[in-house]
């Protein structure tokens, strides 16, 4: 992709869209229940991230992971502005946590979908930070195991 970008064979936006639009659309749908709203967010994400693609190449992440991480920031910003909370509308990453206890699912949902901090979760659940970190770690291990 880097090579194609530099040779200018196809437009960057076209290339990104062809490769990642479907993947990112389903990624957005796990945060936003409405397909129309998710489509609007997809437009926003692509138009904001395409000019910054060089940052993606410069990062340690793959282009797709960089897109996911940056998309999540935009989605959370949108949810914050519209005072909405991320809903578990599609299973997506949660399908990897199907067997996890409800508390694990709650921690992951709050951290990942709602962008809350571990400290906030610890305060509102009455648990200490180390406990929340432990639960998150177990969720991530489970995700890695189920992905592989």
């Amino acid at each position: 992709m880097r090579r194609e970008l530099h040779t200018g064979d196809r437009s960057v936006a076209e290339m990104l869209y062809t490769r990642y639009s479907g993947m990112l659309f389903s990624y957005i749908l796990q945060f936003v229940p409405d397909e129309k709203e998710a489509a609007t967010l997809l437009v926003d994400i692509f138009s904001r991230l395409t000019p910054k693609l060089q940052n993606g190449f410069d990062s340690h992440l793959s282009v797709y992971c960089w897109l996911q991480v940056e998309s999540r920031k935009i989605i959370l910003e949108h949810l914050h502005e519209t005072t909405k909370e991320g809903g578990q509308t599609r299973t997506y990453y949660f399908s990897l946590l199907e067997d996890a206890p409800p508390e694990h699912q709650w921690v992951f949902r709050e951290l990942f979908l709602n962008g809350r901090k571990k400290e906030e979760l610890a305060a509102c659940s009455g648990k200490d930070l180390a406990y929340i970190s432990k639960i998150l770690r177990e969720c991530l291990v489970m995700i890695r195991k189920n992905l592989g």
């Binding site: 479907g22 993947m23 389903s26 340690h60 997506y92």
Partner: protein, 161 residues
């Protein structure tokens, strides 16, 4: 540092999913060049994440692509770059080549303009020569008439005395 223990903390997954704090990100990025196993674990997780996303992809509604292109084209920086790209695509049949011969090559349209310029300049040169000759001739006549006039005045002056 025990890198195995560090990886078991879920830092690789946190980093790839965007869940790591800025401090964790800094630490991870500093360690990354020194521990190939960390890089390998990250690439492996990214690969599986991408495969998962491919399996679960949902095509966006029609019209989204056009909206994205329009939005990108509206951005000033991108608009300029897009125009340059458009120009390059329009002239894609031309290949940039290093020229070593001493001749200057110009567009064919300049031949017509050059011919017109030559013809017009020759017409002007002809007119300039014609009017110059006419002027000299007229000047000669004026001088001749002046001499005749002087002679006539001299003759009539002598007769009067």
């Amino acid at each position: 540092m025990n890198i195995e223990l560090y990886m078991q903390s879920g830092i690789v997954e946190s980093y790839a999913l965007g869940l790591a704090t800025p401090e964790e990100v800094d630490e991870f990025e500093q360690l990354l060049p020194h521990f190939p196993e960390l890089k390998e674990a990250l690439s492996d997780f990214e690969y599986h994440l991408e495969l998962f996303s491919i399996d679960h992809e949902i095509p966006p509604p029609p019209g989204v692509r056009v909206k994205i292109e329009e939005r990108i084209r509206e951005m000033p920086d991108v608009r300029r770059a897009y125009r340059r790209g458009y120009y390059r695509r329009q002239h894609a049949e031309y290949v940039r080549a290093e020229v070593t011969d001493p001749y200057i090559r110009v567009h064919k349209v300049w031949r017509t303009w050059f011919i017109i310029f030559c013809i017009v300049s020759k017409i002007f040169l002809g007119l300039a020569i014609y009017y110059f000759v006419e002027y000299r001739h007229a000047q000669g006549e004026v001088l001749q008439l002046q001499r005749q006039l002087d002679k006539t005045q001299g003759a009539s002056g002598g007769a009067g005395k």
